[in-house]
């Protein structure tokens, strides 16, 4: 039974509840457009000793006619698309399901099934994207290691710092994941019998509380890392050698 006039309005909230989904939608959209363009462009992704994270690991395949990024990006893309945090973000910003708390969602009353049926039931495979992303993460750390080796020997350039910071942020994002938290210890009922897993779960839980922060910083930074490599590779800027 609906409650008086409250039921007719979109919401009775008076605050600016729409700002958050709007910003989320714009930033996610901008990232989507930028990363699609860069992934398909298939150029300016390597400049010694830096490799763009969108093209890591470096795949030079004769039989593949398109950009190698396509063979790589399904993993981090799937990981983010099924991430518990991003789900909240895009359900609110793009699906209006709901756009804000105590704001009417889009959809017919009575027909909602959420993540219990196709297509959103597929969100349940999040942990498999986690496994794939951990593999990619290993390559990003190798890239960051290789970014210390210039043609004239070891050194540190701005790019070295950028690549390393990127690998760090993506590591924090991946290891603060809810599925990871579950697999490392959350699935236990009796912690006292597994003290190591309990400690691990505790440490992950601390980062899990700020998973959203890692999600945004790593998202923005991975795009900036690619942009940096792109700009150096196409000659717009030169990499500053610090050491």
């Amino acid at each position: 039974m609906a409650n008086g006039t409250a039921s007719k309005a979109l919401t009775m909230r008076k605050d600016m509840w729409w700002v958050e989904p709007l910003i989320t939608g714009v930033v996610l959209g901008a990232f989507g457009i930028y990363s699609t363009w860069r992934a398909l462009s298939n150029q300016f992704y390597y400049t010694e000793p830096y490799l763009s994270p969108f093209y890591s690991p470096l795949l030079l395949l004769d039989w593949w006619p398109l950009s190698p990024a396509i063979l790589i990006l399904w993993a981090p893309l799937g990981f983010r698309a099924t991430c518990y945090y991003y789900r909240k973000a895009y359900y609110r910003a793009y699906f209006f399901s709901p756009p804000g708390c105590a704001v009417k969602p889009v959809g017919k009353r009575g027909s909602y099934t959420g993540e219990s049926s196709f297509p959103f039931i597929l969100q349940n495979i999040h942990r498999f994207f986690l496994y794939a992303s951990i593999v990619i993460l290993l390559f990003l750390w190798i890239d960051s290691y290789e970014a210390f080796f210039f043609h004239d020997g070891m050194g540190v350039g701005v790019g070295t710092i950028v690549l390393t910071a990127n690998a760090f942020l993506l590591t924090m994002y991946s290891f603060s994941c809810h599925s990871f938290r579950h697999l490392m210890g959350g699935n236990l009922d009796v912690f006292s019998k597994c003290p190591t897993r309990f400690r691990l779960w505790g440490a992950i839980s601390v980062q899990n509380e700020v998973h959203m922060k890692w999600a945004w910083t790593s998202l923005v930074f991975v795009a900036l890392t690619d942009l940096y490599v792109f700009l150096v590779a196409n000659g717009t800027i030169t990499d500053l050698r610090l050491i």
């Binding site: 409650n3 909240k88 708390c101 105590a102 969602p105 909602y112 219990s116 699935n187």
Partner: protein
């Protein structure tokens, strides 16, 4: 002493309308005090359910300026000078009179949750680290504001399929209990409809006890359901271990 304008819903299950009242604001006053003032000075028949006036009984849930809030925990000085404050009954449940709603559906749901089930030969020893997770959920004061704000119940009216966040944490608490031996994953999926939740976190946002309903209750429950129903690897592992 300043004067506040309150627009309060007056009506019953057949409908109703807003009525405006002017209330002098004293220091430390909360919305519930303002409603008492209305009862004492204007309309003695204004209905509001309350008990403790200390944010502990969970009776005085209302929608203040469109947001689910405890009337006894919302201070009048949190509003702008001269701002008109709307007070409505919680929307997800049928109005009985004015601000009082019929929340009995929740008690029916509660009864369906399989009770705590220890093993027959249980050794009644529990360690702090084993019970800590459940203790967070035990802070619940059953104000049902999470149930009210959840779009699945509030707007989609899927009370037939979804138990709601308050009962997700109740299931999670028992499922994670160190001495409980019952597997509630099938119940969580089939009866309580955990898959309906799209983790948009409004329940967490409104909880007056600051229970991390989604991060610590619903998501871990979803992950446990994934173990059982959507993860062939953990299925294989269970087979090998003979569990």
């Amino acid at each position: 002493m300043s004067v506040a304008k309150l627009r309060v819903f007056r009506g019953d299950s057949q409908g109703g309308e807003e009525k405006e009242y002017e209330v002098p604001v004293d220091e430390g006053m909360v919305v519930l005090d303002a409603l008492f003032y209305i009862q004492a000075n204007y309309d003695g028949d204004l209905a509001i359910r309350w008990n403790c006036k200390a944010a502990k009984c969970g009776s005085c849930s209302t929608e203040i300026n469109g947001k689910p809030r405890l009337a006894c925990k919302t201070r009048m000085d949190s509003f702008e000078e001269g701002e008109t404050v709307t007070v409505y009954p919680i929307k997800a449940f049928p109005v009985i009179k004015d601000l009082v709603t019929d929340v009995s559906w929740n008690y029916e749901v509660s009864k369906k949750i399989p009770p705590f089930t220890p093993a027959e030969d249980t050794e009644w020893i529990m360690y702090q680290e084993d019970v800590e997770r459940g203790q967070e959920f035990r802070k619940c004061i059953e104000c049902f504001m999470c149930q009210n704000v959840c779009h699945i119940l509030r707007d989609h009216n899927r009370k037939d399929a979804f138990a709601g966040p308050r009962f997700m944490i109740k299931i999670a608490e028992r499922e994670m209990h160190p001495l409980d031996v019952l597997d509630r994953r099938e119940f969580a999926r089939e009866e309580a409809g955990v898959g309906f939740c799209n983790i948009t976190k409004c329940c967490t946002e409104v909880c007056p006890e600051d229970i991390h309903i989604t991060d610590n209750g619903i998501i871990p429950l979803k992950e446990r359901v994934v173990d059982k129903y959507y993860d062939p690897l953990s299925w294989l592992l269970r087979k090998i271990k003979g569990k």
